[in-house]
Amino acid sequence: MLRIEQLEFAYSSAETARMRFDLSIADGEVLSLIGPSGSGKSTLLNLIAGFLDSSEGSILLDDRPIQDLAVAQRPVSFVFQQHNLFPHLDLYTNVALGVDPSLRLQPTQVEAVRAALARLGLDGLERRKPGELSGGQRQRVALARVLVRRRKILLLDEAFAALGPAQRMELIELVKELVREHDMVALLVSHQPADALLASARTAFICEGRVAALGSTAQLLEQGDPPELREYLGSK
């Protein structure tokens, strides 16, 4: 279980710019985060990953605080919208870096990398460079690296936004499977309400640096409450 308690952050000293988050996500759950641009969705993911430092509050994974850990020590894997892969390295190396950045892999680890690529439907493509793949395949490679890293928290920041509807649906299903299989906790930021409906039973609406609404995805999108959510969804 991931719990975010009174987690505070501000880009400037102005009180109005202060963000404050409270959330909890169960093991095996994918929680979608929706909200207008600049509302704080990516900031929340960056705080969990450690790319930003919170001023107050805590991030607890199974009741253990992780907010003071260095980025590399946090039990987090991050998938960005783009630039997840190093373009000059082949797929195998890109995934293997997730196991050990020195690339000194034991035979079992080599096998794990191959198995992860196979699990994501990329077997036979190990020696290809990212530039030779489609956008969907590249994100699959990033997910293969998530698998070999074996970190509990998965953060997806508009990871599938650049893909077509069919590929997006396919990859969201894949993420759900992986999260269930490995008992992970996932937060998915998306601008598409349809993605939230498909990905998660629960969704949080983030607005002005707060969790303005949290609940069943279907109900939230249907009721459009609070008014800011209605405005965001364009259903005034």
């Binding site: 990953a49 590399a72 020590q73 894997s77 960005f80 630039h83 950045p101 890293r149």
Partner: protein, 522 residues
């Protein structure tokens, strides 16, 4: 085609300017009266020594400039929030507009026997040449390499941090692959600049032991009166330049010099921070100290005596005349070529367009001194070349400026053409109106930069004017060289400061007047 004819004329003039002198050189090499031994450089110890020294000094200069530049550029990249960063990088752009002979004076004022940090018994020879070349090329290499770090996506740094990469692993997987893209191009460019460097070697080179091909050509023509040897040297220089230019074209592109403010997010230790700051400080001192020292020496020098000398004002007038005329010719020719090549690229003929642009950069392959030598040889049997000094010097300097015009203006002109040509056709916006409403507002900034850059390059040139100039037709750069030759070091320092101030003033004025103050949004 209305655009093909003017561009064709420019290309024809370019071909004439380059090929006719070459033909003159080749013809001369076959004439009776010249010893065959002069043409067999492998039998000639002098030629072999000159060739060896040319390559050796260029190689050393390149390594001493580019290797530290990698460290300094990295330090700048890692310190995106450094106070005065923009100012320091501005200082690193200064050597681009500092005439070579001024830089020589600046280097002498620090490292010369009477300087702040005297370096051994004599600065003249390989030591001085290397110091001056590094003064020019280290900042250039820093500015060329820095954008490579800034091209690294922020997500790659974050990914590296999340995967727990060490500094070495970050260098190996994130930084080096991006740097490797640009490094061959930067190395070859600096090598080429040092190989064809004239003013530095002429003023700091010490006799036959420290002479490069360029300087040897000049000495053969002006002092030894041995055109046959000049021909062999010119052909050797041409061969070397063609080799390096071919390698440059084959190996890689040059990065765009665009300094952004973003900085990678990486936690660094205090030691690394101080190391970076130390590197930046050392490089800044290396570039700034000579200029500061020269300024102090000049202010302490015989200013009144120099500025009341009629030769100074004659040289100043000649400098401005040559600089502004060469820039006007160069930009006009470049504009016609680029207008044509942009049209070719737009209508699906990018290869031909690229060839047209490359033709404009022919001076990269055929050094100006080789062209000058050819012209000297070709014209000397028909006219007194010293009577033709202005047109010749202006033409060759315009030719030297053309690659800069193409680099400054080319991308903007191509972008403009691709975006607005069809709109212009539909609105029948042509000729003067097209220039007034579309091209001038959108292109005045790169145009201003191109004109300012070519003007100061021509103003500071010593190569061609040294070949053709005389006391009457001297420019400030040549006057400094003449003062140095007469051991009038204090006078030379004052003149060098005046030339530097003139170059900076003219550059700022032209860039501001033509380029305007603000950016025009596309």
């Amino acid at each position: 085609m209305s655009r093909a004819l003017p561009a064709g004329l420019v290309l024809a003039v370019l071909a004439l300017l380059v090929l006719a002198p070459m033909a003159g050189l080749l013809q001369l090499s076959g004439l009776p009266g010249y010893e065959a031994a002069d043409l067999r450089f492998w039998d000639n110890a002098y030629l072999r020594r000159v060739l060896y020294f040319s390559i050796w000094q260029a190689l050393l200069s390149t390594l001493l400039s580019v290797l530290p530049a990698i460290l300094v550029a990295r330090a700048f990249a890692m310190r995106g929030q450094l106070p005065l960063r923009r100012l320091l990088l501005g200082l690193f752009a200064l050597p681009l507009v500092v005439p070579a002979v001024v830089a020589v004076m600046a280097v002498v004022s620090v490292y010369g026997s009477d300087g702040w940090l005297p370096l051994g018994r004599s600065l003249y020879g390989i030591n001085g040449i290397l110091l001056a070349h590094v003064f020019f090329n280290l900042p250039l290499a820093v500015r060329l390499l820095l954008p490579q770090w800034q091209a690294i996506p922020q997500h790659h740094w974050q990914l590296g941090e999340q995967l727990g990469m060490s500094t070495w692993q970050g260098w190996r997987f994130i930084e080096w692959p991006v740097l490797r893209e640009a490094l061959p191009g930067v190395l070859l460019l600096v090598f080429m600049l040092c190989l064809t460097s004239f003013a530095v070697v002429l003023t700091l080179g010490g006799g036959p032991r420290s002479t490069t091909l360029e300087v040897a050509i000049y000495q053969s023509l002006r002092f030894d009166f041995n055109p046959a040897r000049a021909v062999v040297l010119a052909l050797l220089q041409l061969g070397l330049c063609i080799l390096v230019a071919t390698l440059t074209l084959k190996l890689h592109r040059l990065p765009e010099v665009e300094i952004a403010e973003s900085a990678p997010v990486r936690p660094t230790s205090a030691l690394r921070k101080w190391l970076d700051l130390g590197l930046i400080l050392a490089a800044t001192l290396y570039v700034g100290l000579p200029l500061l020292s020269m300024l102090i020496d000049a202010l302490d020098g015989p200013i009144l005596k120099v500025i009341t000398d009629v030769r100074l004002w004659r040289a100043l007038t000649n400098t401005l005349l040559i600089g502004l005329s060469a820039a006007a010719v160069s930009v006009f020719a470049g504009w016609l070529l680029l207008r044509y090549s942009a049209g070719l690229a737009h209508c699906g003929r990018p290869t031909v367009a690229r060839l047209v642009d490359l033709a404009g950069s022919i001076v990269y392959v055929v050094p100006p001194l080789v062209i000058g030598t050819g012209m000297f040889v070709l014209l000397s049997s028909h006219v007194d070349v010293f009577d033709w000094v202005y047109p010749i010097v202006i033409a060759i300097n315009a030719l030297m400026g053309l690659p800069f015009v193409i680099r400054c203006l080319g991308p903007a002109m191509r972008r403009n053409h691709a975006r607005y040509h069809n709109l212009c056709l539909s609105l029948e916006l042509q000729g003067w109106n097209r220039f007034r409403y579309l091209e001038w507002p959108l292109l005045r900034q790169p145009l201003g930069l191109a004109i300012a850059l070519v003007t100061v390059l021509a103003m500071g040139d010593l190569g061609v004017i040294a070949l053709f100039g005389s006391t009457q037709t001297s420019t400030l750069a040549l006057l400094i060289y003449q003062q140095l030759g007469a051991y009038m070091i204090p006078q030379a320092t004052v003149t060098a400061l005046l030339l530097l101030l003139l170059c900076l003033g003219v550059f700022a004025l032209l860039e501001r007047l033509i380029g305007g103050a603000g950016n025009v949004a596309h």
